[in-house]
Amino acid sequence: MSAARPSAASGLDRCDAVLEMVGGRADAIVAAGRGVTALTRFANSAIHQNVAEDNTYVYLKVIVDGQYAAATTTQTDAVALGRLVERTIAAARLRPADPDWPGLAPSAPTAPVEHWDDETAAASPDSRAAVVKWFVDAGAGLESAGYCATNGMWVATANSAGQRVASRHTSATIDGIHRTGSSDAAASSTSVRLSELDGAAAGAAAATRARASAEAIDLDPGVYEVVLSPSCLANMLQFLASAGFNAKAHLDGTSFVHLGEQQFDTSVSLWDDAIDPRTIGLPFDHEATPKRRVDLVRNGVTERVVHDRRTAAKAGVASTGHGLGQESFGAYPTNLFFGEGTGTQDDLIATMDRGLVVHDFWYTRILDPKTQVVTGLTRNGVFLVEGGKVGPAVRNLRFTQSFVSALGPGKVKAISADARLVGTMHVPSVHLAAWNFTGGAKG
């Protein structure tokens, strides 16, 4: 790959150079990132789009007497960085002062953790193609589609209050489907290390389920027990996180969160922890605040929300290190862990008298953030379970369901112990007492 090898030192040097250009004219925070992101995409069982980029950026936010502005550039020569500094200072001076400006993050150390693998950072298109080939070959006679991606990024952040942090992270993912003429099924795997991806195993899992789904039946909509695969639970957590555990939503009054109340089943515990070696990402947020574990739900009781510096100042607490640099959105827990139970997904299915096992959700959209009522569809495999045994495949169904109430007191019948990484969330399968399916393939 042609991109030069970046480092923490070179990233911090770039941040320092920009801070020097700002000088005493303003307070400032600078982030510099550099790395290679690559994605090998396949469809109709062949690689058709194969992309990579030298990913470089500099982000600058300046604050002049409570007035601030932010800007980014992909150009890192001295002339371009000088233009970035002058333009951003000029913009800050033209906007009204922000009465809620919380100040810069103070100097504080980050946890000594790196979610990094040298081989993954330097992965070649051949190594990604090999993983794809294993996935495709595992479904002989079927059509396959999906991608294998590798990423390796360095990120350094420094501010004029003396905070200087830098780290690096890698990730690798194989995510694909196998298709019969009448059914699709998916499997995926994500890791810090490309070498840990088993394309053949993922391909075999998708192929087996696709074949089993080929003769699907129609099922009447209604309320059913469900076993949800980790990808479904991860989908649910995105809504709970962005519209619920986000302190901005909580402060605005649009969140479902009632701190200290038993809002979930006693078996539910949920926390965010970017330091855990099982996850991926950086140990600090966009504002350079070190990340630390935050328990959001413990034994069903909602305990905390996540903050950036703005919401923390409003609430009179310290930032939890979950700022995204988007004040209008608020804070987001990027590395969620859903507490595990016992057994496997198969064990959960074995205890279900009658219900559905769902492997993916699709096109989920929230109808109201406060009730967390969401509509969406099933995808990539739904099966009827009777007497604890997996029966026929079912055609995709539409649901309209409150995600909070689905996990509410008395609603979680079991949680598996075989959690895995879905994106940046570590999630198991769950057996829920009721799920509201509101439509079938015919509407």
Partner: protein, 482 residues
């Protein structure tokens, strides 16, 4: 820039590519958002770089770099070809390129604007507008008031191994606002002009035209009233959709379904496929005989307009549905060749220098009919009028959809009666479109802009346009409850 791009093309060809093209792009963006009288975000960005697309066998190899010098351009060309070669480990039938109906062109095209939204309008004026409208909404008694604008100024230079040398500059912008009233158990929001605002290929004049201040009091009072309004009843009824909601319906259930890359299975794992089968092109009845839809990249001011697509094909107007019959698709040169079409539809775009161009909607819109909205309401004995999108969900074949709107009114004996909250409707695409029996006239025709259409891996955000009018649909299931 042409020379840099040319160097990258030459190096890709020298490394074994049978075809190569290069886009150099320089993009400036600006966005500001306000909440309750306070500017919460002001962000500007400047991105520049080049992306090389090299074809070997069945696969595109693509490499992008932000470093705009000759050595980096040459290296990027070599890298793109090397990536394409690696794809041969899992290869398919050779990719071919359909003809570009414009031929290998040397040209320049620029969109039009009266007030450049970054250079001619000061940040202070723009910030004052957002602060004032959000304060106005708060003063009307609503707890949460939001307003924002976004601007894109894109310059790009395309060089291909077939001789294209095309430069373009496209300026786009738009704005919107919302009022969110918070009740005990739920929230109610009213947005204006649409769920995200209104966007076009235009200068700041589009934002002056939509008159945010003049509509702030109305959306505030409607948001408050919705908290007290009765729930939308469940059942099957005649449904009238406002033009903004119908624009999203067109986007989701027509626009994505007619993307040729989806029909060919290239997006199967992520965005999905389509219920449309190519062998039925020209014969399938997509909707009622009143349904006429085109994809028109030449509409002045619409968000999906441009001079040339990112393969250098000139902007075109393509018939998609005529008299209810499915007659056209959205295509690029490779997808058109795979489908056996003679020429590209000129609908391939990338959202930055670092992304591979792919099939995107242009301005996919419904042609007007003969009725005003008031005439449609007057002709309806028993129905519901819904307006302004609140939520959207549709399956991976673009068949089974469920939409929520911000507001609705019951229609009884030709008159708009009580307001209804939490309106939703659901259906199956061809059945729904087959039930369309009244369409708004030309005076109601609005070119809605959608600036956030996600597609592809890595994800790209497309800007699409949707000319739309109000329309009536018979026997639609409404009021789906959670």
């Amino acid at each position: 820039m042409f020379d840099l791009a040319g160097a990258a093309v030459e190096s890709a060809l020298a490394a074994g590519a049978t075809y190569a093209d290069v886009r150099v792009m320089v993009m400036r963006t600006e966005g500001m958002s306000a909440r309750n009288g306070v500017i919460e975000g002001l962000r500007q960005s400047e991105s520049a770089g080049l992306g090389v697309r090299a074809l070997i066998g069945s696969s595109w190899g693509f490499f992008a770099t932000p470093v705009l010098d000759r050595a980096s351009a040459t290296a990027a060309g070599e890298e793109a070809a090397a990536i394409a070669k690696a794809s041969t480990m899992v290869s398919g039938p050779a990719t071919r390129m359909a003809a570009d109906p414009g031929g290998a062109t040397e040209a320049h095209w620029q969109s039009t604007w009266i007030e450049h939204p970054i250079d001619d309008v000061g940040l202070s004026e723009k910030g004052d507008l957002l602060v004032e409208v959000t304060k106005r909404i708060n003063d009307a008694g609503v707890a949460l008031a939001d307003a924002s604008y976004a601007i894109w100024d894109t310059e790009k230079w395309l060089v291909s191994s077939e001789g294209h040398r095309i430069s373009q500059r496209i300026v786009e912008c738009g704005a919107g606002m919302s009022a969110t009233a918070i009740g005990d158990g739920e929230t109610q929001r009213r947005s204006y002009p649409g769920i995200r605002g209104q966007y076009g290929t235009s200068g700041w004049e589009i934002i002056r035209k939509i008159d945010l201040l003049g509509n702030a009091d109305r959306i505030a009072s409607e948001a408050s009233a919705l908290l007290q309004a009765p729930q939308c009843p469940s059942g099957t009824t005649d449904l009238i959709l406002g033009s903004e909601q119908l624009a999203l319906q067109i986007h989701e259930s027509v626009g994505h379904a007619i993307e040729l890359d989806r029909i060919l299975g290239w997006e199967a794992a992520y965005a999905g496929t389509s219920w449309l089968e190519l062998e039925k092109l020209g014969t399938l009845q997509f909707g009622s005989e009143l349904m006429n839809i085109t994809a028109d990249a030449t509409l002045p001011g619409a968000l999906g307009s441009f001079g040339y697509d990112d393969e250098g094909t000139p902007a075109q107007r393509v018939d998609i549905v005529t008299g209810g019959k499915w007659v056209g698709v959205l295509s690029g040169r490779d997808s058109a060749a795979h489908a056996g079409l003679e020429t590209s539809g000129g609908m391939v775009r990338a959202d930055g220098y670092n992304r591979l161009p792919m099939v995107r909607m242009t301005n996919v819109g419904l042609h007007p009919g003969n009725s005003s909205l008031e005439e449609i309401i007057a002709a309806t004995d028993d129905g519901i009028f819904m307006d302004t999108n609140r939520s959207w969900s549709i399956d991976d074949k673009r068949l089974n959809f469920q939409f929520g709107c911000e507001i609705a009114w019951e229609i009884k004996n030709g008159e708009r009666t009580r307001m209804l909250r939490n309106p939703t409707y659901t259906g199956i695409s061809p059945t729904f479109w087959g039930g369309m029996d009244m369409i708004g006239n030309e005076s109601e025709w609005t070119f809605w802009g959608t600036p956030n259409c996600g597609k592809g891996q890595p994800t790209q955000i497309g800007h699409t346009g949707h000319p739309s009018v109000p329309a009536r649909f018979r026997n639609v299931r409404v009021g789906v409850q959670g």
